[in-house]
């Protein structure tokens, strides 16, 4: 390459060193620099000149706050900026007390609910017992004895007012996943559920109304079986007793 062929590239080197050469000229110069050691050397000299421009400015101090701003961006400041858990002894004691109070509160609520359940069951028992007493005092009430292997008692039946109560003694306890189920028996043998019974462990007898949406005159008997908890649509388990009325 002759000097005159070099000349356009040489002339562009100062502007290139400053980053001011237009894009098209810069591409051409960069291609030329790949093959021209003399131009690369020239560029090195002008780059040293542009570097000196950088360091030629007189220093000027920024506000002192800038140092603190930068310090706040460093990792140690980031860590210290995170909220600390400062557990003093008094705060720890306060925290434990609050946790204990919450636990006591939860326990108290569960106790109250248990007592309320027991109270409701007791009220049911009293009402059922009163119903049995009323029926016994009523002249039209019929009494049918129940005598089975594990249970004895009576069925009180008042056809006029369509009421019936089972009074059972010695009904054995059964597992939680089972229940006693009362059935009303129609003349054709069809069974209709008349309620679930769970024996009480603290008293030897129960007084259980026989529930029926239909007229009791439509039925000819009553029975009891052991069914899965929640009851069944029709009898599936072993028979506890059966009587006709």
């Amino acid at each position: 390459m002759t000097y005159f062929e070099h000349l356009p590239f040489l002339e562009n080197i100062p502007a290139y060193a400053l980053g001011a050469l237009d894009a098209r000229d810069a591409v051409a110069l960069e291609a030329h620099l790949q093959t021209c050691a003399a131009c690369r050397e020239e560029l090195g000299a002008y780059r040293a000149t542009s570097d000196k421009l950088l360091v030629s400015l007189p220093p000027q101090q920024p506000p002192a706050t800038l140092r603190r701003q930068i310090q706040r961006r460093l990792p140690s400041a980031q860590k210290s900026a995170r909220p600390r858990v400062n557990w003093s002894l008094s705060r720890l004691a306060l925290g434990i007390a609050v946790v204990l109070l919450l636990a006591l509160n939860v326990f108290s609520i569960s106790q109250v609910r248990r007592l309320q359940d027991q109270q409701a069951q007791l009220m049911d028992r009293i009402q059922n017992g009163q119903m049995a007493l009323v029926m016994l005092s009523y002249p039209h009430t019929q009494s049918f004895p129940i005598q089975a292997e594990n249970v004895t008692g009576s069925l009180l039946l008042d056809r006029e007012y369509n009421n019936a109560v089972l009074i059972l003694r010695g009904l054995p306890a059964i597992p939680e996943n089972q229940t006693y189920q009362v059935w009303l028996i129609a003349p054709n043998g069809e069974r209709t559920s008349a309620g679930l019974v769970r024996p009480q462990t603290d008293i030897p007898f129960i007084s259980q109304p026989v529930s029926s949406a239909q007229d009791l005159a439509n039925f000819v008997g009553v029975g009891m079986t052991i069914e899965p908890a929640g009851g069944s649509d029709h009898p599936t388990g072993s028979v506890v007793f059966r009587i006709n009325f």
Partner: protein, 181 residues
Amino acid sequence: MPEIDDVQLIKRVAQGDEGAFLALYDWYVGRVYSLTLRILGESMLAEEATQDTFLKLWSRAHLYLPERGSLLLWLLSIARRTALDRLRLEGRRPTLSDAHDPAEAWQTIPDGNSLSEESHWRSLNFAVQALSPEYRQVIELAYFQGLSQSEIAEVLGWPLGTVKTRLRAAMERLRHEWGRM
């Protein structure tokens, strides 16, 4: 500051030593802020660019190669790119006044025999101030405002050829002057 200290400090910064980082900040912040202020022209923008520059120094310390040049030059190159990026982001046109020249501060010819840091940059700056206003203007717009030769021609209303000639002449003058130091 001796160069060996720069290298030791930047190695410690690369290892996460905040004390070393702050030492470099204290030593060089005046140079960085001066450059960003020269480019951006507003103290608030210059402070932000200075902060960004030093945070880049913190995160990229491991990339510094001593054989490529001094740490100061590397840091100022980062500062220049950071400030020019901000200038483009702001979409601001360059100022055409010569207000950046603190002429009264440079009336004394520096003692060329002094090896102090201050003497060095004052000598360099004196050469820039000794350029004619037209030469200083094209250097300012090209290097400190990031404009291409075509953009300078448009801003100043000069023919492109004139811009090229003056830019080349200004750089040749500085190369010649600084080559004698």
